[in-house]
C-alpha cells in the first residue's frame, strides 16, 4: 500500500466517520492499523493482541493461516474493544474492501461503547492481557513451561463457565472490604482461603457475607475453584484469576455476537451507500456486502440474521400498522430511535426472542432439524414460535451447557459435585469425561458431574484414576 492510497483511505475515513455520526452512531475513537495478513491472523486467533502463550492459540493460528494460504477463507475485520478502539486493515485488501471494513468497524465500536452488556468491560484490556502474559511467562520460567501448559489445559477446559454477572456481584457487595492494599485483583478474595480452617469470625470472612460470594449452586466454576480448591498453589490460583478476568471481557462479546454483527453490517451498508461511490466501486461493494450478509443454507449466518432483524425493526417502527398504533401507541417514523434502543438494551437471546417475527421466520425459511436414525438430518419443525424458541434455547449461555457447582464438600470429603442444568440437550459424554479429568487436576479430589444420559439421570465421577458412572439418587444441592 503506497502513501497515496493511505491518504485516500484517510480521507475516506473522515467521510465515513462524519456519515456515521450523522446516523447517530457514537463510537469510541477508533484507530486503524494497516497490517500484513499474518498479523491479521495472529490477532484474530488470540482475539486480543499480546495475550499469554498457549498451544491452542498456535493451533487456531495455524488453521487460519492454512485456510488463508489455500484461499479457503479470508478475515475481513478484526476489531478490539478498548477505548480508544482498534481496527485492523489488511494490507492486501483492495481500497474499497478497507473502506467497507472501516464502516463496519465503526458499527462495532459504537456497539461496544453503548450496549449495556459492555458497561462494565475493562477498556484497557490490552494492557491487562499483556501483564497477564508477563506473569505467565514468569511462572513458566519458575515452574517449567510444560507444568504451566498442562495446568492451563485444565483451566481452559472450563473457561467459559463464569458468571456473566460476576462484576455486578462484586459491586453489590456493600461495603467493599477495606483490606491492606495488595496487587492482585483477587487477592482480597483469596486471602480468606490461604489460612486453612479459617472460620467465619475472621475479618476477611466477615467482609464477605456468604450470600454474595459463597452461594450455591454456583454458576461461576472458575471462581468457585479458585476460591475453594484444596489443591491449588498460589501461582495456579493467579492463573485461574487471570483467565477469569479475560473471560469476563470476552463473555459479553459471545452473548451479543448476532446483534453486534447485524448492527455493524446494517451500518456499513448505510454508510457505504452514502459515500457516492463510482459505479465500479459500488458494484464491488454490492458483491462484498452480499457475501457478508448471505444466507447459509443448512446453517445460520449471524451477520445475516442480525442484519435482517435490524432492518425489520426499523421498518416496523417506521411504518406501524394501524393496530400497532392503536394498541401500543407507536408513532410512524420511530424506526431509528427504536433500533438504537435495541442496540443499547438487548443481548442475542432477548434480541431474537423479542424481534424475530413470524414474517421473518418465513422469509428466512428457518427450521428446526434433528438427526433421525443416526444418519439423516431431518426438518422436524417449521412453526415459527417453536423455531424461535429453539434458536433462543440454543443461544442460551452462548451455546454452552449450563453447569453449576452444587456442592464443594460432597460426601463430607471435600469432593466437588457439579450439576448440568439439563434443558433438553444431552452432553457429549466422551468430552464430559475428559473435562472432569481436567477439573480433577484443579480440585485435587474426586469430581462428580450429574447429568442426563439417554434420558436417565446419571452421575459421572473421576477420582484421579478411574471413571465411574452411576444412576443418580437425586441430589438437592
Amino acid at each position: 500500500m503506497n502513501d497515496a492510497e493511505i491518504k485516500d483511505l484517510e480521507a475516506a475515513l473522515e467521510r465515513i466517520w462524519e456519515i456515521a455520526r450523522g446516523f447517530g452512531l457514537d463510537p469510541y475513537p477508533t484507530r486503524f492499523e494497516i497490517v500484513p495478513a499474518t498479523v491479521m491472523y495472529e490477532i484474530g486467533s488470540y482475539a486480543l493482541p499480546g495475550r499469554y502463550s498457549h498451544w491452542t492459540f498456535g493451533k487456531a493460528y495455524h488453521r487460519m493461516k492454512t485456510m488463508y494460504d489455500y484461499g479457503l477463507s479470508k478475515i475481513y475485520e478484526v476489531v478490539i474493544n478498548t477505548n480508544p478502539s482498534y481496527g485492523f486493515l489488511m494490507e492486501t485488501n483492495s481500497p474499497l474492501q478497507n473502506k467497507l471494513v472501516m464502516a463496519h468497524v465503526l458499527g462495532h465500536t459504537d456497539f461496544f461503547k453503548n450496549n449495556i452488556y459492555f458497561s462494565r468491560t475493562n477498556r484497557r484490556m490490552v494492557d491487562s492481557v499483556s501483564t497477564h502474559a508477563a506473569r505467565m511467562t514468569e511462572y513458566e520460567f519458575k515452574y517449567g513451561r510444560k507444568t504451566v501448559e498442562r495446568f492451563l489445559d485444565a483451566v481452559l477446559s472450563i473457561e467459559e463457565h463464569i458468571d456473566p454477572n460476576f462484576l455486578v456481584r462484586r459491586e453489590s457487595r456493600n461495603p467493599l472490604p477495606k483490606l491492606s492494599p495488595r496487587e492482585g485483583r483477587y487477592d482480597d478474595l483469596l486471602s480468606a482461603n490461604e489460612r486453612p480452617g479459617a472460620s467465619v469470625t475472621t475479618d476477611d470472612e466477615a467482609a464477605f457475607p456468604s450470600s454474595s460470594t459463597d452461594r450455591l449452586p454456583e454458576k461461576d466454576l472458575l471462581f468457585y475453584i479458585m476460591r475453594h480448591s484444596p489443591a491449588l498453589t498460589d501461582w495456579q490460583r493467579d492463573c485461574v484469576a487471570m483467565i477469569h478476568e479475560e473471560m469476563e471481557y470476552f463473555v459479553p462479546q459471545m452473548a451479543t455476537k448476532t446483534m453486534n454483527e447485524g448492527w455493524a453490517s446494517f451500518h456499513h451498508a448505510r454508510i457505504m451507500r452514502e459515500l457516492d461511490l463510482p459505479d465500479k466501486d459500488f458494484l464491488e461493494f454490492s458483491e462484498l456486502h452480499s457475501g457478508v450478509v448471505s444466507p447459509q443454507k443448512g446453517s445460520l449466518n449471524p451477520y445475516f440474521i442480525g442484519y435482517k432483524i435490524f432492518e425489520d425493526i426499523e421498518r416496523r417502527w417506521d411504518n406501524p400498522t394501524l393496530e400497532e398504533q392503536r394498541k401500543f401507541g407507536r408513532q410512524p417514523g420511530g424506526g431509528r430511535a427504536k433500533i438504537f434502543e435495541v442496540r443499547e438494551l438487548e443481548s442475542d437471546v432477548s434480541f431474537l426472542r423479542n424481534y424475530l417475527t413470524e414474517e421473518l421466520c418465513e422469509e428466512l425459511d428457518l427450521y428446526v432439524m434433528e438427526l433421525v436414525d443416526d444418519e439423516e438430518w431431518t426438518v422436524t419443525e417449521k412453526r415459527w414460535e417453536q423455531v424461535r424458541d429453539q434458536l433462543v434455547a440454543n443461544m442460551t449461555n452462548f451455546g454452552f451447557p449450563y453447569i453449576v457447582v452444587a456442592d464443594g464438600d460432597y460426601n463430607r470429603n471435600r469432593e466437588l459435585y457439579l450439576r448440568h442444568e439439563y434443558e433438553g440437550s444431552e452432553l457429549d459424554g466422551a468430552y464430559a469425561r475428559k473435562v472432569i479429568e481436567h477439573v480433577h487436576t484443579l480440585w485435587g479430589r474426586t469430581v462428580h458431574l450429574e447429568t442426563i444420559v439417554d434420558e436417565e439421570r446419571k452421575v459421572l465421577s473421576f477420582d484421579g484414576r478411574t471413571h465411574e458412572e452411576q444412576t443418580s439418587v437425586t441430589f438437592d444441592g
Binding site: A47, G58, E77, V78, I80, D365, M369, E376, V379
Partner: protein
C-alpha cells in the same frame, strides 16, 4: 480517528505458539504410536509421503452438547417442509462460522483434529529403539556398505562434476593476475586451467549381512483383517530394515498348502484360498537358506505370520522344521493373528503358537507373539526388534 502503519516484522507470537502446537502433535503421535502404526491411511498410503490421521489427543475438551442429540436451527432455500432431509450425518451442521474476533475455539462442533504425519518422520520415531537382534559378525563380508563423499577438488575430471563456483573464482583470479590489477576483476574468457572438478571418495564399511525371510499365510482362513495386520507389520518391518541397514536382503514367501517365493508387491496384495500347510513354507525357507545364504556368512531372520490354523497332521513336521530353522537362524519370529475383536481368551490349544511354545527345543531364539487387535502391531514390532542381546554390529 487515525490510520497507521507500523513495522510488524518482529511480531511472531503466532509462529511461536504454532511451534508449541507442533510439539504437542509430536508428543501425541509418540503417545499414540500403538494406534497410528496400524492406521489404514498409513499402511495403504501407497508411497505418499505424508498422510492425515485423526488425533483425539489434540482436541480441546470442553463441556459441550452431543450435537447428534440436539435440535439445530438452520436456514433453508425458501421451500423447506417438515420431513425434508437437509443433510446426512458426517456433513456436520453447525451454527454459524467463525468470522471476526471472538475467543478462539468456539466454532468446533463434532470436528476432530487431523494431524498431518510425515511417514518418514513417523518411521524414525518408531524405529528409535529398534535393532536387528542377535546380529553376529560372519566370516564373509559379502555386501560392503559404501558411502560416497565429495571431499576433494581436482583440475581434471568429468564435466558433470564441474564445480562452477570454484571455476568462476579461479577465472576471476587468473584474469586479475594477468591484468596486474589494471582492470576491475572480471569473469570471462574461461580457459581449461580454470576448470575445477569435484571428486569423491568411497568409504567402504564392512557390515554383517542379514537376510530376512518374510513368510505369510495366505490361506482361506486368513480374513481381510488378519491379512491387514500381517501387512501392517511387514510394512513397518520392511521400512525398518531398509532404513537402518542398507545391506539387508529381503525375500518373500507366501503359502497356503504350498509355498512359493513372490515379489514384494504380490506378497502384500495377493489373496488366495485353500488350507494351510505351514511346513511347506519352512521347507522352502530352508531350501533358500541352503542355496543362497550360508549361515556362516549370513545373519538370517525368518518371520512368519499366520492365523495358526495349521493342518493337524502337519504340526509335527512344522515343529521339526521350525527347530531346524532356529538352529540355522539368528532369530525366528512367529506372529499369530486372532480374529478381530476377540482377545486373549480365545487361544485355541490347537493353534500353532501354543504348539510352538510347548514343543520347540530351542526357544531362546524364538519369539512368538499373538496379535488380536490393530493396537498390538506396535508391541509386536518392539518385541521382535527390541531385543538387543548379542548385538555386535550396530550402526
Amino acid at each position: 480517528m487515525s490510520i497507521q502503519r507500523n513495522d510488524w516484522s518482529l511480531q511472531r507470537k503466532g509462529i511461536i505458539d504454532q511451534e508449541r502446537h507442533k510439539e504437542r502433535v509430536r508428543e501425541a503421535i509418540k503417545k499414540n504410536l500403538g494406534s497410528i502404526v496400524s492406521n489404514e491411511a498409513i499402511i495403504l498410503s501407497d508411497g505418499k509421503r505424508s498422510v492425515k490421521v485423526p488425533m483425539r489427543a489434540l482436541d480441546e475438551y470442553k463441556f459441550r452438547f452431543d450435537h447428534t442429540k440436539r435440535k439445530h436451527v438452520a436456514q433453508g432455500n425458501g421451500k423447506t417442509k417438515v420431513g425434508d432431509v437437509v443433510a446426512r450425518e458426517g456433513g456436520q451442521p453447525g451454527q454459524g462460522q467463525g468470522k471476526g474476533a471472538g475467543p478462539a475455539g468456539h466454532e468446533g462442533g463434532g470436528e476432530y483434529y487431523e494431524a498431518e504425519i510425515n511417514i518418514d518422520e513417523l518411521a524414525a520415531l518408531i524405529f528409535e529403539d529398534l535393532k536387528l537382534p542377535f546380529l553376529e559378525e560372519k566370516a564373509k563380508q559379502a555386501i560392503p556398505s559404501t558411502t560416497t563423499r565429495f571431499n576433494e577438488i581436482r583440475r581434471t575430471g568429468v564435466m558433470a562434476n564441474l564445480d562452477k563456483r570454484r571455476m568462476i573464482l579461479e577465472n576471476i583470479k587468473r584474469n586479475a593476475r594477468e591484468n596486474r590489477g589494471t582492470e576491475k576483476p572480471r569473469f570471462g574468457d574461461v580457459k581449461k586451467e580454470d576448470l575445477r572438478f569435484k571428486t569423491w571418495q568411497e568409504d567402504v564399511k564392512l557390515e554383517s549381512n542379514a537376510v530376512v525371510l518374510a513368510v505369510m499365510d495366505v490361506s482361506g482362513s486368513m480374513s481381510e483383517f488378519k491379512k491387514y495386520i500381517a501387512r501392517s507389520f511387514y510394512f513397518w518391518m520392511v521400512r525398518f530394515l531398509r532404513a537402518k541397514y542398507d545391506n539387508v536382503a529381503i525375500r518373500f514367501i507366501s503359502h497356503h498348502t504350498e509355498a512359493r517365493e513372490v515379489s514384494e508387491e504380490q506378497f502384500f496384495t495377493q489373496g488366495e484360498s485353500g488350507g494351510t500347510v505351514v511346513s511347506s513354507a519352512y521347507e522352502l525357507a530352508l531350501a533358500m537358506i541352503k542355496a543362497d545364504y550360508n549361515p556362516r556368512d549370513w545373519n538370517i531372520y525368518p518371520f512368519h505370520f499366520s492365523d495358526g490354523d495349521n493342518y493337524y497332521s502337519d504340526n509335527e513336521e512344522a515343529v521339526r522344521l521350525a527347530d531346524e530353522l532356529i538352529q540355522t537362524c539368528n532369530l525366528f519370529g512367529y506372529g499369530e493373528i486372532g480374529e478381530e475383536g476377540t482377545s486373549a481368551y480365545r487361544r485355541s490349544s490347537g493353534a500353532l503358537l501354543s504348539i510352538f511354545s510347548d514343543r520347540l527345543k530351542n526357544k531362546d531364539r524364538f519369539i512368538g507373539v499373538r496379535i488380536d487387535e490393530k493396537e498390538d502391531v506396535y508391541p509386536a514390532l518392539k518385541k521382535f526388534f527390541g531385543n538387543t542381546q548379542g548385538v555386535m554390529s550396530d550402526k
